[in-house]
Symmetry: C2
Subunit: 398 residues, 2 copies
């Protein structure tokens, strides 16, 4: 944790909470607002580090839970830490593992959190016990019993040597009673304290620690949580957990939360990355976002296009593109677009599950999202965010 | 077919049949001897066209059989031909589809041909009938009945617009009686005639046609076949079929064959690409080689290293590399080696089946093979092939 704020705000939008700035970390600066590509298992899937940087990305996100189970944080530490291990010399944020641990416990929490699959309540997956001390669970890799406490998560992230660590939280799903959410959020606050205490004692110099605001879809719980996290000495604040069943509700939850956050600390919105959500999040004062969307969609033949009517995406694996001589998108600098490859060819690669297709679509999607973020950053600086946001929402090419 | 020879020989080795030269095609020149990476389904798996070229490769090989079944040669023709379809502007060779069609008929012919899996005789796979007219078989994609005759293969390759087409042959497996091989080889010669006749009438201007020498492991059949193919007006000559159960036998079969081939036509060795086989093949006067080995091995975590005792390969997915801080190889310009990534990290990527690993290993293996070929080319020009071949055989880094 740092004595001085990690974020320098260089421009503010007059008509919204949006701000542009520079987030300083031990491995360099992040221009904000920024999207953070996932490097879940110590690599952005299919991409070389230099390619991620060349697209304009300053920072990537490694996954504490997966790296803990395999290859193990101690092994990564012996091999020089996560930066050296994966050959990425820029900033790295690591999530806490809370989301993944509780995903197992809450069944399809990943879907529930995004409101996609309503469930009646809890189901026990790989979780053996959720206790005040921490969580016991079985490894999805070998069935071995593992334990993760707030201190464990911080210890793993310390060993990984990430620039930004996230505190360990319980990620409560959408469809649980308010009472469960309230108790869970209070425990998350106690765990925040334990994380910060561990980090104060043992954490690496220069590693920033982000607290996490929980509270589900309940305004008072979100406000309480925002205040509790803001009252701690964390360097930045992340917004996590269930953000609602629909986009509008998610935007409302983020609105409540950022309204209650201090101005001087960086804010991260966890697991959100659709184009309209990025635009709205920036307006609401979010500095960084992470999401599997651009990379995961790409691996399944889905590519981003400036078309809000289709949620900015086209499924190239569909038969309708078989004979198409259309390019993917005009004006995009990614290899598929720059080479003028036809949708007919790209459809063939997607349908045949060719590695080259997964890679081309990942490159395209990451290029698309980076250019959206760049336009938003530049618009904040130029005082034109309202017009830029309207243009992007209505389908302007980034 | 061309009036002038496609190959210009620029240097000959004094102590062997090796020669270096330039193969001229409608889409540019190929520096020989050369390895041809597979672009089976209109892409070198995981690689962008510019990356393949940047490694030093002049030419890639597309697969007639697979492209016929999906997306179909007519569709590729409508989308501008194979070069434009896949975004590769350099030379392309297409195989005839014979190997794949007969692989289905002969069971595991792919293994048998390389002597890996001895079988007692024929098994019927997807083949419905092998007739003088051609072969009826079922598509492995949708079970539909398809037919491929020599003329069909040439028509497909004409539609694809490849620079080098291979004639349709029966690829006889290793473990069939001499009598079957003799009859099959004679049919291959009749099919050669039909292919050349079709191409003479309908083939695209500037497309080179290679005949294929068959004859199994029988010296007299190989000689007869070499003479029959050489007597035709084909532009180049490929060596196919069963080359023996062991490397030494394969080298002997190639030795018989190239001794009987005319000097002025380019020679291609089908499906061969291990390091010692490339070295020996060059000494025996082969100009071009293709093989799935470097790319396929890479996708399975196997990387090439200068170590003849381990067949020039290391299996990175093995647990022994878990804690290794060794680099993959010194002096290699590929990204994995240039970044100094540890075998520990690469093992993790291989074990987790990460796309990035498949890509890094493919890049490394293709870089390795290209540098072997470059050293052999340069050594022929410099009159130092014997020393160079000895060095590579004994484990010198390429």
């Amino acid at each position: 944790m740092l004595a001085v704020p990690a974020l320098t705000i260089t421009a503010r939008d007059a008509g919204s909470r949006a701000r542009a700035g520079v987030l300083r970390t031990a491995h360099g600066e992040v221009r904000t607002p920024a999207f953070v590509p996932l490097a879940t298992k110590a690599t952005v899937k299919g991409m070389l580090p230099a390619e991620v940087a060349a697209l304009g990305y300053d920072i990537v996100l490694g996954n504490t839970f997966h790296l803990f189970l395999d290859p193990g944080h101690e092994r990564i530490a012996r091999l020089g830490g996560l930066h050296e291990f994966m050959g990425w010399s820029g900033p790295i944020v690591t999530d806490s593992g809370g989301f993944q641990v509780f995903s197992m416990g809450h069944g399809t929490v990943a879907d529930e959190i995004k409101g996609r699959t309503p469930h009646g309540g809890h189901r026990q997956g790989g979780i053996l016990a959720i206790e005040e001390r921490g969580v016991r669970f079985r490894s999805y890799l070998d069935g071995s019993e593992r334990f993760m406490a707030p201190e464990t998560s911080m210890e793993i992230q310390a060993a990984l040597g990430s620039d930004l660590a996230l505190v360990f939280d319980e990620c409560t799903p959408l469809n649980v009673p308010r009472d469960y959410t309230a108790r869970s959020t209070e425990r998350t606050h106690r765990w925040l304290r334990r994380c910060l205490d561990w980090h104060h004692e043992h954490g690496p110099d220069g590693q920033l620690v982000y607290g996490i605001v929980q509270g589900g879809v309940f305004e008072d719980l979100r406000l309480e949580s925002a205040q509790a996290v803001a009252a701690s000495e964390c360097d930045g604040i992340a917004i996590g957990g269930s953000l609602g069943a629909e986009k509008a509700e998610m935007h409302t939850v983020v609105d409540w939360t950022t309204a209650a956050l201090p101005e001087d600390r960086p804010r991260h919105l966890l697991g959100i990355g659709e184009i309209d959500d990025l635009v709205r999040g920036v307006e609401l004062g979010i500095d960084t976002f992470d999401c599997a969307m651009p990379t995961r969609l790409g691996r399944h033949g889905m590519v981003l296009v400036p078309d809000p009517g289709r949620r900015w995406r086209v499924d190239l694996s569909q038969a309708r593109w078989k004979d198409s001589d259309e390019p993917l998108m005009d004006g995009c600098p990614c290899p598929a677009c720059a080479l003028g490859l036809t949708r007919g060819y790209l459809r063939y690669l997607a349908h045949a599950r060719e590695l080259t297709g997964m890679r081309l679509f990942t490159l395209h999607n990451l290029a698309f999202v980076e250019r959206v973020m760049r336009r938003l950053r530049e618009a904040i600086g130029a005082g034109t965010l309202a017009a830029e946001a309207a243009a992007l929402r209505s389908g302007a090419a980034p």
